[in-house]
């Protein structure tokens, strides 16, 4: 059993190339998933890799390093289009979790209820992946394959999350439904990014729903339906939603999840009007 602290991206990539390692960033999933003692795989700690740090805007896109924590997102000066992402950040676990947990780790853990996925889907996120053979960019929707599953190949690690620059005036929203106030795994989540015209009608909309299927999903049908409708008047019904397959579990039934998703989507979209 080894624990390796990488101090450069090259070092991290080299260690990852050696085989089965558990990549440790914020640790909030790695350590939470093991009973009492600690992870069973060799660990590669990437929290000291300088190339993975920082949020920057360059060449028409935003780049959020894989080492960036939720607390850093909350503190960063970002345009309104990121308000939904920041709202999601504030709902991640608790202050303690936000301090260390990373956005990239949230994606790699690939929980159906990952708080970061709906807002990043709505922001058209791409995932930057690196291995010894090179780097590649994968749309987030393709990166996530199923519960706990991503398209990451052996030897690959996520280096950044990249987001296109949105039009000035783009607005965003997020809501997370749970049975208590803090430290809650969601029953349903909605994130939306939109551009409204002067009359408050949708010129464009990107909306994603989480915790209602194996992976969070964008809602192209609803996004199309919304164009031209005034945000203040919009109503979303279950029939407007697609590609969701919620489960019934201890938190809620499948039918409740769908209804709550439609109602929450209505509220998030109406909330964009104000």
């Amino acid at each position: 059993m080894t624990f390796t602290t990488a101090h450069s991206l090259a070092e991290a990539v080299a260690v990852a190339a050696n085989g089965d390692v558990r990549i440790l960033a914020g640790g909030t999933d790695v350590f939470a998933s093991v009973a009492s003692t600690g992870p069973a795989l060799p660990i590669l700690d990437v929290t000291r890799v300088p190339e993975l740090q920082g949020i920057a805007q360059k060449d028409g896109q935003w780049r959020i390093g894989a080492g960036v924590t939720w607390a850093q997102v909350i503190a960063a000066p970002l345009p309104n289009a990121f308000d939904g992402l920041k709202a999601a950040a504030r709902e991640v676990g608790s202050r303690q979790i936000q301090t260390t947990a990373t956005l990239a780790g949230n994606l790699c853990n690939a929980s159906p209820a990952a708080d970061g996925v709906p807002p990043l889907l709505a922001l058209d996120a791409q995932v930057e992946i690196q291995s010894r053979v090179g780097s590649r960019m994968v749309p987030l929707a393709d990166f996530l394959i199923g519960p706990g599953q991503t398209c990451l190949q052996r030897g690959e690690l996520v280096t950044a999350i990249c987001l296109p620059t949105l039009p000035i005036g783009a607005v965003s929203g997020f809501t997370k439904l749970g049975a208590r106030r803090y430290l809650v795994i969601s029953i349903a989540m909605i994130a939306a990014v939109a551009v409204l015209d002067r009359a408050g009608a949708f010129q464009s909309l990107k909306l994603a729903i989480g915790a209602c299927g194996p992976v969070a999903r964008r809602q192209p049908k609803l996004e199309q339906l919304a164009i031209g409708q005034r945000a203040a008047d919009i109503r979303v019904s279950v029939q407007d939603l697609q590609d969701l397959s919620p489960i019934s579990d201890a938190r809620a039934t499948a039918s409740y999840r769908l209804e709550a998703a439609a109602e929450s989507a209505t509220r998030v979209l109406q909330g964009l009007a104000t």
Binding site: M1, T2, F3, T5, L24, G26, G27, T28, V30, F31, A32, A35, S36, T37, G38, P39, A40, I43, D45, T47, A71, R90, G93, S94, R95, Q96, I97, T99, T100, L177, A179, R180, R181, Y182, L183, V184, I185, I187, D249, A250, R251, A252, T253, Y256, E259, A260, E263, S264
Partner: protein
């Protein structure tokens, strides 16, 4: 995994000092801090980031130390509570405020709370309540209900201190700070896992992965000898005495280790004892055992079906026991009633979820077994171990650690036999700490209930006929199930006058975890049915719901359903009447505030609870003495599990003795040192042990005054190494030096016992089950999101008849904490074996879920209570869940008959669907 990494060293700055620790690769920072660096003020509640008890500052920012790799802290700065206190300033102010407001009850979450609050106050010097909630949302507390914590942090920002209590203040009736409070807010309190020295052998239990299974061991000797670092394996074959334990003499049925078949998921079959380095990476799946799952009965319905597997051959139909109370003729009264209502109500398992998992340390000293562990009942532990070990009581010493919450589940033994057997087999000191999942799987729960109830009333609204049937899932073993079965029919009427009453309860065995004692012993479940149907009756009669209860409230001189008549001290009418102003104003406000998708509603409910054992002896003995140097010493054996008995018992004793509280030194609990003050359960400590303390104080006073030849009204003071007695104008010094000392070293001593007067119940449940009842009424305000089914409690007003408030601050703490637990039961908590075995799938209220609580203390003195005082611990959550359900019905027009009322259930009810 955590192998020492080639002798390499971790360097970090801990609390301002450079420290080095051996590196155990992949070890959690929390474990390194506690086990390698001695920072036991970092508490472990879940090892999953769900509870926040282990919060430390890493480079100034709050993190859960259980989610950080120790090696990630290399070169960084870590601050724990003790270091922050050493710096002074903010942490000191917070610690003082936490004591002032009673924000630390058991104290296990307190380090995490204060460390989180330090981070907040550094960034936001004068936070408001919302900011405090956001900052402390990641730390769970199960005792306080959070409101006093919010108050403490807000007050710390404003640096406003409550006036200090004068040292000569009257002992009874004053809100003294907890006598054990400083240790709790300093993180120095030693809980079950804080005692073992480094390198102590570690025990890990092997548990059943199936609800029911047969099993066979492989070659255990070979396993033990071939496994590096494993010292011993324990099984049923290692139990020298009785391989059974239980809390009720006729129901001692649970094996320490199952012998051939397990009856619930999580049941122990063996334990492995090894060196800590080996046990750190112990993998239970390598243990040589073969499991054969067997058909299981998981619900009372399944367990009472014709071909159901029988858990015990002599408990036919899996019926463990039943309870019954009858007076008058319920059926006849109901048939003649002007209005009737009936309903079926159900609830699931509720987990105690104290933040301290079961933990302890044991060693053999002079041939005796010493157990240092968390417990609510040290002498019962001692008795159970004597039978299991086949040793005399005198061979076993129980030295309770501080208890990080109990709420009923730490009445039963859990890890104690493993500690004792491991210490005996290895001859070495041993330790154990349950994981969160292990604690949730294997310890007792609140009984799931299925209740059918019919109630009638006459034209004037007076109750006329009450027929109750309750079926309780008691799980695989008896635990306190018989107590629940007995208590429920006695209490199911609620604190109301009923002439025609029948109540029957049944406890059914299933292949589920044992259901046992949990704050209220079944009464919270029955109160839901009774109080919800009361609203329906009042509505049918077009009567005000509160006035309907006041009309029917039990009064002095009226018999209870057991035929017991109290000539005094029945305080339910006063509690209900105290809610009238809030009932009017809150209902008016709710009507105004409702709009859009949000509706507000107000609900009331009442409750009562008999203090002490039901018709059984339950004496407490309290001893005290005066040392030759004039120090008065109180042997306080009534376990303080956060509720405050260390302080309350001392206050009562000081009052009786006639000295200021500060003149008394406390020792105990320890079975070698403190006489048996009984168990901390049944809301009996203030009442029963309080009476023993009062008698002991009075007896010691007589002895001191005799010694000084002073009159009965003389004033006693212990100061300057002597006892001073002031009698009128005369100042006398008691010459203690001339007196002989007893074997405890006292020159004057007293030991007194109190046992509440009760009478047995006959076949119809008629008799005198309790010497006193306490009474309560709650008002709850909720908002309900009509489209999402989300319920938020927005306010509580809680009226409690405590007879006499010994310590009003501690009373408020009990009320707020009980309401938080009742809210959890009503809105979010359900333990599902195999599914919600951790604190992220099993939800308890967070700091953002408990609204402001106004406590109205009612004092209807009880003739048997010390200075009139009554018990309180269980009463505080009995009315909460029904008050919330009634408030939801008030808001939505829809009645829920199943808890928890999760958003899905509430929405389905609003839409008239079933969502089970």
């Amino acid at each position: 995994m955590t192998h020492p990494s080639n002798g390499s060293t971790l360097n970090l700055t801990l609390n301002g000092a450079a420290v080095a620790a051996p590196v155990y690769s992949g070890e959690r920072l929390s474990q390194t801090l506690r086990e390698r660096l001695g920072a036991k003020d970092v508490k472990i509640g879940c090892n999953a980031g769900d509870c926040g008890a282990c919060t430390v500052l890493l480079d100034g920012a709050p993190v859960c130390a259980c989610l950080v790799g120790a090696q990630q802290a290399e070169g960084r700065r870590v601050d724990t509570l003790s270091g922050l206190l050493h710096e002074g300033g903010i942490a000191q102010e917070l610690a003082a405020q936490f004591q002032q407001t009673g924000a630390a009850q058991c104290g296990i979450c307190t380090p995490g709370m204060i460390v989180s609050a330090v981070a907040l106050l550094r960034a936001v010097p004068r936070p408001d309540a919302d900011e405090v909630q956001d900052a402390l949302g990641g730390v769970l507390c199960r005792c306080t209900g959070y409101r006093s914590i919010i108050d403490a942090v807000v007050a710390a920002g404003q640096a406003t201190r409550a006036p200090e209590i004068p040292p000569e203040a009257e002992a009874v009736g004053t809100s003294f700070l907890r006598l054990d409070g400083l240790a709790k807010v300093s993180g120095t309190e030693a809980f079950g896992d804080d005692i073992a020295p480094p390198e102590t052998l570690v025990i890990q239990v092997i548990r059943a992965p199936h609800p029911r299974a047969a099993f066979r061991f492989g070659d255990l000797d070979a396993y033990c000898s071939q496994s590096d670092g494993i010292v011993a394996v324990l099984t049923a074959a290692d139990v020298p005495g009785l391989n059974r334990f239980g809390v009720i003499p006729d129901f001692v049925d649970q094996p320490v280790f199952a012998e051939t078949e397990t009856r619930f998921r999580g049941e122990a079959v063996a334990a492995v004892v090894g060196h800590p380095a080996a046990m750190n990476h112990f993998d239970p799946s390598t243990f040589p055992i073969t499991w054969d799952p067997l058909p299981a009965a998981l619900t009372p319905q399944a367990a009472t079906a014709k071909d159901a597997p029988q858990l015990f051959p002599d408990r036919l139909g899996n019926l463990m026991c039943s309870g019954f109370v009858r007076c008058g003729d319920a059926d006849a009264a109901l048939s003649k009633a002007f209005v009737r209502t009936s309903g079926q109500f159900s609830s699931g398992f509720v987990e105690h979820a104290y933040l301290e998992p079961e933990a302890g340390f044991a060693q053999i000293t002079d041939g005796r077994i010493e157990i240092h562990a968390c417990t609510q009942a040290p002498v019962m532990d001692q008795e159970a171990l004597a039978a299991i070990l086949d040793r005399p009581l005198s061979d076993i010493r129980i030295v309770p650690s501080a208890v990080g919450g109990g709420f009923g589940s730490k009445l039963d033994i859990s890890m104690q036999p493993f500690l004792a057997l491991a210490a005996l087999k290895t001859g070495q000191p041993v330790r154990i700490a349950y994981t969160r999942s292990e604690s949730m799987q294997s310890t007792t729960k609140r009984h799931p209930s299925d209740i059918s109830l019919s109630i009638g009333a006459d034209r004037d609204g007076r109750l006329q006929g009450f027929r109750f049937h309750g079926q309780f899932n008691t799980g695989a073993y008896a635990s306190w199930g018989p107590t629940v079965a007995n208590r429920v029919p006695v209490h199911a009427s609620g604190p109301y006058y009923l002439r025609d009453y029948t109540a029957r309860s049944e406890a059914i065995h299933t292949h589920c975890p044992p259901a046992g004692a949990f704050r209220g012993f079944g009464v919270p479940q029955s109160a839901i049915a009774q109080e919800c149907l009361f609203d329906e009756l009042a509505d049918k009669l077009a009567m005000d719901r509160l006035e309907f209860r006041i009309l029917n409230a039990l009064e002095d001189g009226q018999p209870t359903v057991c035929g017991q008549v109290f000539d005094q001290g029945v305080g339910i009418g006063a509690c209900l009447k105290a809610l009238r102003p809030a009932w009017q104003s809150e209902r008016a406000a709710a009507a105004k505030r409702s709009g859009g998708d949000l509706r507000y509603g107000v609900g009331v409910a009442a409750g009562w609870y008999g203090c002490g054992n039901t018709s059984l002896p339950n004496p407490s003995t309290i001893k005290a003495g005066v040392r030759r140097d004039g120090q008065i010493v109180l042997h306080q054996g009534a376990m303080d599990i956060g509720q405050g008995s260390n302080t309350v018992i001392a206050q009562i004793f000081a009052q009786a003795l006639g000295v200021p509280l500060g003149h008394i030194a406390l020792i105990g609990a320890d079975t070698d040192v403190t006489p048996d003050a009984g168990k901390t359960s049944a809301s009996r400590q203030t009442f029963v042990s309080g009476n023993a303390a009062k008698l002991a104080g009075e007896a010691l006073r007589v002895r001191i005054l005799q010694c000084a030849n002073a009159g009965p009204d003389a004033r006693i003071r212990s100061q300057g190494g002597a006892l001073q007695v002031q009698d009128g104008g005369t100042e006398l010094t008691v010459h203690l030096q001339d007196l002989a000392t007893d074997r405890d070293g006292y020159v004057l001593a007293a030991s007194e016992t109190y046992d509440p007067p009760t009478r047995p119940l006959d076949a119809n449940g008629q008799g005198a089950p309790y010497a006193q009842f306490g009474y309560a009424a709650h008002l709850a305000v909720v908002s309900v999101d009509m489209k999402l089914g989300l319920v938020r409690a927005t306010k509580f007003v809680a009226a409690h008849d405590v007879g006499r408030a010994i310590n009003p601050m501690l009373i408020e703490g009990q009320v707020q904490g009980g309401i938080a637990q009742g809210l959890g039961m009503a809105l979010m908590e359900e333990y599902l074996p195999g599914r919600t075995e951790n604190l992220h799938d099993y939800l308890i209220p967070t700091i953002g879920d408990v609204p402001p609580i106004e406590t109205l203390i009612i004092e209807a003195p009880d003739a048997h209570g010390p200075y009139g005082a009554k018990g309180l611990g269980e009463h505080v959550l009995i009315p909460t869940a029904p008050a919330l359900l009634n408030a939801i019905a008030d808001a939505t027009g829809t009645r829920l008959r199943r808890v928890p009322a999760t958003p899905g259930h509430v929405l389905a009810a609003i839409k008239g669907q079933s969502n089970d």
